[in-house]
């Protein structure tokens, strides 16, 4: 174990997999000479050279397509989206080429590609640069979607994603790159896709949250503990495939669930989780599943409005109280 930042964990995962597998290469805007707009690829050009660390012009659809084509014939590209907002320009390639190739070809071709970069609300970047992007991907058959909340997960899940034979959408967060945590140094340390993590054990309510919202829920948990409410916090880690087993086990234990997401909410992860939990644990629920989501508006620039846009600790606490006191005290 070593303590490192989320950024360093990603960097280490890339180095280890590139050392391990000659077919792995990194391609994207500013990944080489500039060492990454967010420095995730720092030092990689120096270690692996321009053949494997490929700087591209601004042409998201083009270089994503290049990655997909290269993957079709056996390479294992890691495509960096400088920020995931720009992935919309490559969405057709991701959905119609990458996600469907294996199916359309009856299993003849597969696309082992990882498309990674920061996504989600950032700091005062406004409407076009601060969006929760996973909503464009997790509903697409043929794609896997990862949202790693901790440095250890960042490393373990990125390594697994790179070794996966299918397209994996790996969305990091600008706001988490500097957080520190314990990270296993074993180059064989990986985390399977589709396994949720229990971030905190509890008995009264299950809260499901990932990335920044997971940390906000942790703060809420501390405060709720002082008023005697014990929160169990589940972090799905991968949204597709989704580990419904762990989530349902927790809900069957607590009988209450609150889902938190930074996105606008309409037909989002919260909707899916609420639906799944209700379908499969209806008789175990003491209260309807509560959704705490971002306000359904584009992201405003002004600091105070931006703050009000995403779920606050207070809103999480209120939601937890609502489900807990729905039918009398827990």
């Amino acid at each position: 174990m070593a303590v490192m930042t989320y950024r360093e964990a990603l960097n280490l995962a890339l180095r280890e997999e590139m050392r391990r597998d000659e077919r792995v290469f990194v391609i994207g805007e500013e990944v080489g000479l500039y060492e990454g707009a967010y420095k995730v690829t720092q030092g990689l050009l120096k270690e692996f050279g321009p053949r494997r660390i490929v700087d591209t012009p601004i042409a998201e659809s083009g270089f994503t397509g290049v990655g997909i084509g290269a993957a079709m014939v056996g390479l294992r590209p890691v495509v960096e989206m400088m920020t995931f907002n720009f992935a919309l320009l490559a969405l057709d390639q991701i959905v119609n080429s990458a996600a469907k190739m294996h199916y359309m070809s009856g299993g003849q071709f597969n696309v082992p590609i990882v498309i990674r970069g920061p996504g989600g609300p950032a700091h005062q970047l406004a409407a076009q640069h601060s969006q929760s992007m996973e909503v464009y991907f997790y509903h697409v058959p043929g794609l896997k979607v990862v949202r790693p909340s901790t440095p250890a997960d960042a490393k373990g899940l990125l390594k697994t994603a790179i070794r996966d034979d299918n397209p994996v959408i790996f969305i990091e967060s600008e706001t988490l790159y500097n957080i520190k945590g314990e990270v296993p140094e074993d180059p064989e340390f990986t985390i399977p896709l589709g396994q949720a993590a229990i971030r905190r054990e509890g008995t009264d309510v299950t809260v499901i949250a990932y990335m920044g919202m997971m940390y906000r829920a942790l703060e809420a948990a501390d405060e709720l503990a002082t008023e005697g409410i014990s929160m169990e916090l589940v972090d799905p880690r991968t949204l597709q495939p989704l580990d419904t087993g762990t989530i349902l086990t927790s809900v069957r234990k607590t009988h209450r669930a609150v889902v938190v997401e930074a996105g606008a909410g309409f037909a989002g992860m919260g909707s899916e989780l609420s639906a799944v939990i209700t379908e499969q644990a209806f008789d175990d629920l003491d209260a309807p599943v509560e959704r705490v989501t971002g306000v359904p508006a584009p992201m405003p620039y002004a600091k105070n409005l931006e703050k009000a846009k995403t779920p606050s600790k207070e809103r999480i606490i209120e939601a937890v109280r609502r489900v807990c006191y729905a039918n009398g005290k827990p």
Binding site: A59, S61, G69, V73, N96, G106
Partner: protein, 344 residues
């Protein structure tokens, strides 16, 4: 930079070996007959969805493929029966794919617009106009990454040129010197939209100049002219990865798809009839006879064997069963099947 301008249609000078002539004639006739049968099958409801015929354009795929190696790659759009056959795919499995049967190249999951065959390095079969151009650049990238000397032929229509992905793929291929041969099959129409209504510059090969990419236009009805231009491009690509843009001027004898009448509003019957006078198969047959590359007997013999091959393909497809329903959930992911994915 070779930036030839278009040569007015005149037969290419080339001499070809009888063996080569035989293969060229055989492949062009095979594509023609295969598609005539497919059209019949479509009328009978044995093939569904969209069916886009390549009839009239055979010289492009056959001419280009004739100077490439089996280990070279090819990728095309949705009008790809010809390219897939030229690459050497089994007509029986292709027809079965069109019929949506389990013995099809992709077990019937892809259909006419999505033919793939790993065994002959045919990479599809793509139905989003322009989207396969970056994929071709990616294959070129992989070839270079591995230090190989293969090339990839990327076939696309004039309609793909106004798309942004044409520009992105051309720039990346030229910037990184990727061994891609961009073969534009300019049949003058994108569905019902003529070149003049789609492009500010209708001499498509000239777009290559914006990328300092060798480019030329050739008579796409002259299989040997296509062959020669492609040979030049392949030589450049094998030498140092230099990509090329070739504009093959051709014509689609049929409608855009089976749902579109041949002589629709956007072009006159006269124009279609005039173009049919330059049928690439007829032109080559005459050429081969005069040059003595092939005899009447050779031709009759080839025609006959092709007919048998195509009849066999139809019989094979007819006999093949529908894919089992379990196939609906296979091939979504390589490692695990649908089960691993969370759906509802």
């Amino acid at each position: 930079m070779a930036q030839k301008t278009v040569v007015q249609p005149k037969a290419a000078a080339a001499e070809v070996e009888p063996g080569v002539a035989r293969r060229i004639y055989h492949d062009m006739v095979l594509i023609r007959r295969f598609e005539e049968k497919a059209a019949e099958a479509y009328a009978l409801g044995k093939i569904g969805g969209f069916l886009h015929l390549y009839i009239g354009e055979e010289a492009v795929a056959v001419g280009a493929t004739s100077v490439m190696r089996p280990d070279d790659y090819a990728i095309a759009a949705y009008r790809e029966h010809g390219h897939c056959l030229a690459k050497g795919a089994d007509p029986r499995r292709m027809m079965a794919e069109l019929f949506g049967r389990v013995d099809g190249l992709s077990k019937g999951k892809g259909g006419s617009m999505h033919l793939f065959d790993t065994t002959v390095n045919f990479l599809g079969g793509h139905a989003i106009v322009g989207a396969h151009l970056p994929l071709a650049a990616g294959v070129g990238f992989a070839i270079k990454y591995r230090g190989g000397d293969q090339v990839i032929a990327c076939y696309f229509g004039d309609g793909a040129v106004p798309e942004g992905e044409f520009h992105e793929a051309m720039n990346l291929a030229a910037l990184w010197k990727l061994p891609v041969i961009f073969m534009c099959e300019n049949n003058r129409y994108a569905m019902g939209t003529s070149l003049e209504r789609a492009l500010a510059e209708t001499e498509i090969f000239k777009f290559g100049r914006s990328y300092n990419m060798p480019c030329e236009a050739v008579d796409g009805m002259d299989v040997l002219a296509v062959r020669e231009a492609t040979a030049r491009a392949v030589a450049r690509a094998r030498a140092d990865g230099t990509p090329s843009l070739i504009e093959a001027r051709t014509y689609r004898f049929r409608g855009h798809s089976m749902r579109d009448p041949a002589g629709a509003v956007y072009r006159t019957k006269e124009e279609v009839e005039r173009e049919k006078q330059r049928d690439p198969i007829v032109l080559f047959r005459e050429r081969a006879l005069t040059a003595g590359w092939l005899s009447d007997t050779d031709l009759r013999e080839i025609d006959k064997s092709v007919n048998d091959l195509v009849d066999e393909a139809v019989a094979f497809a007819d006999a093949s069963p529908e894919p089992p329903e379990s196939e609906l959930l296979t091939d979504i992911f390589k490692d695990a099947e649908g089960g691993e994915r969370s759906g509802s």
